[in-house]
């Protein structure tokens, strides 16, 4: 098991390194720089700023210097927020984003899983078509449309829930979590329906019925585990996607999260901030993928045995 985890972690290093390299050079190729602005800046001041942030060095040296900082866990100073390091900024934005992501994932798994399993029990009936059609709409509906719609209905029209904020008022976390989780809930509904349908057609389900078990026990004891393995394998990419994609929701609901820093950094050409968040998020993506792989393997005794040996 540890060998498998270790191997996967080692594989992650070149992946993350490639992400850093590509991002590093891409942001520098993009037109404009961090200290360009409409106002004319005195050339001496600009030169001094660039020297302070090592932008006057040749590109290769900048790259190596960044890598050596990174190896010490330093993501560098932010260009646009003077006096604050990228580490500090990420630490400031992460809690809200992580919490939002976790709630959204919970929404996705509970709503999606229930809908998928429910639909799979009576395939090609109304019980199947209705939740699956809703899921299809959920996949098609962009977050920037769903968010305002929910705000309109539950916030303004019904006045049940606050329309924005994060942790300021009771219930203000519900709408953002729903908005962010909806699309993933729809994916999970489709995945779990397909997984359950496949498992329910297996011979061992017939064996379970031949034992005289009632149908709900056949589903919960015999089918659920195998049917939900595809969902578990999807959780890693889903959580990473939630974190990375939370920007829109954070903007709609005025949440002080990581996503907003990330996008602002791109507009501002805040090189270290862009790089820092990219490195941080790609590391998270790799980690969560690994985590869900381990979980999926642990659920499947066959794979567990394989990795146990390796």
């Amino acid at each position: 098991m540890w060998r498998f985890v270790g191997g996967r972690l080692l594989q992650a290093i070149p992946v993350i390194l490639a992400v850093i390299t590509v991002t590093f050079f891409l942001v520098r190729i993009a037109p404009g720089g961090p200290f360009d602005s409409e106002k004319a800046v005195i050339p001496e001041v600009k030169a001094a700023l660039e020297a302070q942030y090592r932008l006057d060095l040749p590109l290769g040296q900048q790259y190596l210097a960044y890598l050596s900082d990174l190896a010490r866990g330093e993501l560098g100073p932010s260009f646009k927020y003077p006096g604050r390091s990228v580490n500090e900024l990420i630490a400031a934005g992460l809690p809200a984003t992580a919490e939002l992501g976790a709630y959204a994932l919970l929404v996705a798994v509970l709503l999606g899983g229930l809908a998928g399993v429910f639909a799979s029990l009576k395939p090609n009936s109304a019980q199947d078509y209705i939740p699956m059609s809703v899921a299809m709409i959920g996949i098609c509906m962009p977050t920037f449309l769903l968010g305002p719609l929910l705000v309109l209905v539950f916030g303004i029209h019904l006045e049940w829930l606050p329309v924005s904020g994060w942790g300021d008022m009771p219930g203000d976390k519900i709408l953002p979590s729903l908005t962010l989780g909806a699309a993933y809930a729809a994916y999970i509904a489709r995945l779990s329906r397909a997984g359950m349908l496949e498992v329910m057609s297996q011979d061992y389900i017939r064996t379970a019925r031949a034992k005289g078990l009632p149908e709900w026990q056949v589903v919960t004891r015999h089918a659920l585990r195998g049917g939900l393995i595809p969902v578990v394998a999807f959780l890693g990419p889903a959580f990473a996607g939630l974190l990375a994609g939370s920007f829109v929701v954070e903007t709609i609901f005025q949440i002080p999260g990581l996503g907003r820093f990330y996008v602002q950094a791109a507009f501002n050409r805040d090189y270290t901030m862009i790089l820092g968040t990219t490195v941080f998020l790609s590391t998270l993506i790799v980690l969560f993928n690994l985590l869900s792989d381990i979980l999926a393997a642990w659920l499947n005794p066959r794979l567990r045995a394989q990795y146990g040996e390796a």
């Binding site: 297996q202 011979d203 061992y204 017939r206 064996t207 379970a208 019925r209 031949a210 034992k211 005289g212 078990l213 009632p214 026990q217 004891r221 015999h222 585990r225 195998g226 659920l299 499947n300 005794p301 066959r302 045995a305």
Partner: protein, 529 residues
């Protein structure tokens, strides 16, 4: 009174093309302490009839149209699902064909075993576990205490079937329905499982319905035999009546299909086409681990035009030998001479040319044909690839192959799923013969087929072998089948040749203990001798 008495059972299926009657007004009885065998080909309705008794058929499309099934005086067909559920797994238990897929891969064997007892018997898990351990010992599991917490994939096919049997018996049912319980197993394992079922049935005095496509399987154990064809019951009688005085032509066809007798040995001297010396194929070497010696120092020759039979259990290395000859697996050491050329040294173009002269037919015609290629495409591909036919003449070539393997020309544009198992195997044979090979490796080509279809395919292979002047390596776990088709037989055990000779010599005068054991495993050998 009979334990189970089925009268006028009719089961229909609603399909897109209208209603199909799968089981047509059949009647039979099962007595306590007796085995009733239901025999018929795939699609004869034998399984459908039994599943319908327990309400295990998906409905729709299936529906029981009429009939009664009195089990201890109560009509199973009139019961509600809840009433049936009380009987399923408690009074009537089932064993299924494929122990690989019928056990839940995500649950330990023990958890699955105790389930029927905990649910129906309302006993605690600990008590049920004690009972399960006892039963595992009774069905012949070594070290039940060590294996009860393992997962199904850690067991061999035979062991899994023993687990299934223990699971079926854990509530001491009065009736056991066994649906082809040995069809997926090797002959030797089949013999053990048959013996076990008969013993347990005798000891507990329970009634058994034993479903099979193969009359020889039930020859030693059945008390009553019911023969079904296309949903109809064509004949029923006790064992002696069926085997000695079969009335219906279909029953006789089933009896004739049982492979028996040796092939006549031709005495003409022929040169060796293939010489294998000291062949070793090992897997998983390196990192200081002991390699799996799948084939371990095997030497033999095959004469031109000869059919050499290769017999052994799963894991004996018989398939690996076939694959090694064709260079489909890397050979560890040894030499394979084909018509004077060392196959093991060939690379690139020379290997491709050699492969044209050697072909393979696989066990599972379902898996080995590309589902997205029509028969025409499947047969035309090798013809064009090896330049045997040009674009202009390829259609004629394909049609000729269709004729040769006995498929109607009209089927040429159809896809594999539209054919039956036997027809698919004919396609696979046609594809193998397309390159005009001199040598064919047939790896269990009839193991997945019904007995009657099996006989047809064996005859086809013999006939084509003569017509094409083929040399053949015929790999099978079934001695009776090999004896029917092979000139000479090699018996393989754990990667080594233990005995070889003509079919007659092996059957009459087996020299080795293992060969004797294989011979004793052939079902119905006493009755059919």
């Amino acid at each position: 009174m009979a334990l189970l008495s089925v009268r006028d059972l009719q089961v229909d299926f609603t399909t897109r093309n209208g209603r199909v009657t799968a089981v047509n007004k059949i009647s039979f009885d099962v007595e306590s302490g007796k085995i009733t065998a239901i025999i018929g080909e795939s699609g004869s309705g034998k399984s459908v009839a039994c599943y319908s008794l327990l309400g295990l058929l998906p409905s729709p499309p299936a529906s029981v149209e009429c009939g009664t099934a009195l089990f201890e005086g109560r009509d199973l067909l009139a019961m509600s699902e809840a009433q049936l559920r009380e009987i399923r797994g408690r009074d009537i238990a089932m064993i299924f064909q494929d122990p690989m897929t019928c056990l839940n891969p995500y649950m330990t064997v023990g958890d699955q075993l105790v389930e029927p007892l905990v649910y129906h018997g309302k006993v605690s898990k600990a008590v049920a576990r004690e009972r399960a351990l006892e039963l595992l010992g009774e069905v012949g599991m070594r070290e039940p205490a060590a294996t009860i917490d393992q997962y199904p994939h850690q067991f061999s096919g035979g062991m899994r079937q023993r687990v299934m049997i223990a699971m079926a018996l854990i509530n001491e049912p009065k009736l056991l329905i066994a649906d082809e319980p040995t069809t997926a197993l090797d002959v030797t394992i089949q013999a053990q499982i048959l013996k076990l079922v008969a013993e347990l049935q005798h000891k507990r005095n329970i009634g058994v319905i034993f479903i099979s496509h193969d009359l020889s399987v039930v020859a030693d154990i059945a008390d009553e035999i019911v023969v079904m064809e296309k949903g109809q019951l064509v004949e029923r009688g006790d064992r002696a009546a069926i085997f000695e005085r079969a009335q219906h032509p279909y029953t006789r066809k089933l009896l004739d299909a049982i492979p028996a007798g040796s092939k006549a040995v031709s005495s003409e001297a022929r040169d060796d086409l293939i010489t294998v010396s000291h062949l070793c194929t090992w897997f998983g070497q390196g990192r200081g681990r002991e390699p799996l010696r799948a084939v371990d120092d095997v030497s033999f020759t095959i004469q031109r035009g000869e059919v050499l039979g290769l017999v052994g259990e799963s894991g004996s290395g018989k398939s690996t030998i076939g694959r090694s000859l064709l260079r489909l697996v890397p050979i560890t050491s040894g030499e394979v001479l084909f018509d004077g050329t060392d196959v093991t040294a060939l690379e690139g173009v020379a290997l491709k040319q050699m492969r044209r002269r050697m072909q393979m037919i696989f066990q599972d015609p379902y898996a080995s044909l590309n589902p997205r290629m029509s028969v025409y495409d499947a047969l035309a591909e090798p013809l064009l690839l090896h330049g045997i036919e040009s674009r202009k003449t390829v259609e004629q070539g394909v049609l000729k192959l269709m004729d040769d393997v006995g498929l109607a020309r009209a089927f040429v544009r159809k896809y594999p799923h539209e054919f039956s198992g036997g027809q698919r195997q004919r396609i696979a044979i046609g594809r193998a013969l397309a390159t005009r090979p001199e040598f064919v490796v047939a790896d269990e080509p009839v193991s997945a087929l019904d007995v009657t279809i099996q006989a047809q395919i064996l005859d086809l292979m013999l006939e084509l072998g003569r017509e094409y002047g083929l040399t053949m390596l015929f790999v099978s776990h079934d001695l009776a089948v090999v004896r029917h088709i092979a000139d000479r037989i090699l018996v393989l055990y754990k990667g080594k040749v233990v005995e070889q000779g003509t079919g007659e010599a092996l059957f009459e005068r087996p020299q080795q203990e293992y060969t004797r054991q294989l011979l004793q495993s052939i079902p119905g050998r006493l009755l059919l001798a």
